[in-house]
Amino acid sequence: MKYGILIVSHSKDIAIGVKKLIEQAAPKLSITTAGGTDDGEIGSSLEKIQTAVEKNSGDEILAFYDLGSSKMNLEMMIEMTDKKIHKYDVALVEGAYAAATLAEIESPLETIEKTLEPLKIK
């Protein structure tokens, strides 16, 4: 599919939970996650983000994050990869759900971004 979803969270539970929540509404979508540090603690891991980007089968990636270091590591990743990653400064759970619902039915990026606009909080 054109778009895949990437969830970057400080918590592996949040990341997995968001995936489960949104894949119910978007079963065809590629949704990959990077939650917590390498050793499963609260925090973030560039390596996990890298793996999640590699595993994502979307042509382009719509990326969502929670706080500080998730964002910074995601931005480092964006600088390092050739893959097109769109990062959204929106509410993590609510934004990822809205985007996934629209990406599932192959909505154009313009429509997805218009829907995300009011969810911008960062």
């Binding site: 119910q24 509404a25 629209l102 909505s107 429509t111 829907t115």
Partner: protein, 194 residues
């Protein structure tokens, strides 16, 4: 007009049967514009109603509506749980003073609107409840009221519930909650012998 306790129970039992047999149909409708679980959710609620009835036979209309409400509130697990649950809970409370069928359905409708912070035209179950409530009031309730409600629901763009995320793309799909509400009122029609 008041429905007898026996008829009210028959109404709910017919609804339970219909939802159980159309479970996958409801899931399919929800897959198109939601998360695909409306049939599964409602089916859980239906089983809970049957359980509750078999554990304790409702003694009057008030307790019957309350039993239905609690089963749905506790077991459905999706938005339809608190929605139908609130409708039946409010109907149960209302039935203490006034068990007129039209009054009860109108009370249920008001409960839906309060719980959902929604109104007719948002592509939800309310699009079926409101025309039915109106038709009952005008003494013109029949199958075509339900059919027309579903037809117009299908044409709407959703502005409440999960389908609202799809915006324009929700057009042309029937809302799953509207369909399950249609089953509810078709069961009522059968009981009314209409």
């Amino acid at each position: 007009m008041e429905l007898s306790l026996a008829d009210t129970k028959k109404w709910i039992e017919l609804f339970v049967q219909k939802v159980e047999s159309e479970k996958s149909q409801l899931n399919e409708l929800d897959t198109a514009i939601g998360d695909g679980d409306h049939g599964t959710n409602m089916d859980r609620g239906m089983k809970a109603i049957t359980d509750a009835f078999s554990k304790k036979e409702p003694e009057d209309i008030v307790s019957l509506h309350k039993t239905v409400a609690f089963a749905l509130i506790q077991k459905v697990g999706g938005a339809s749980g608190p929605l139908y649950g609130t409708a039946f809970l409010d109907m149960s409370k209302k039935a203490k003073d006034d068990a007129d069928l039209t009054t009860l359905i109108q009370t249920g409708l008001a409960g839906l609107k309060r719980r959902g912070q929604s109104d007719v035209g948002m592509k939800t179950m309310i699009d079926v409840w409101e025309p039915v409530a109106n038709a009952l009031k005008a003494d013109e309730f029949n199958q075509s009221v339900i059919d027309e409600a579903l037809t117009s629901n299908k044409a709407l763009v959703a502005t409440k519930g999960r389908a609202s995320y799809l915006e324009e793309k929700s057009k042309g799909h029937l809302d799953p909650g509207a369909q399950s509400s249609a089953y509810l009122f078709e069961a009522l029609l059968t009981v009314l012998g209409a």
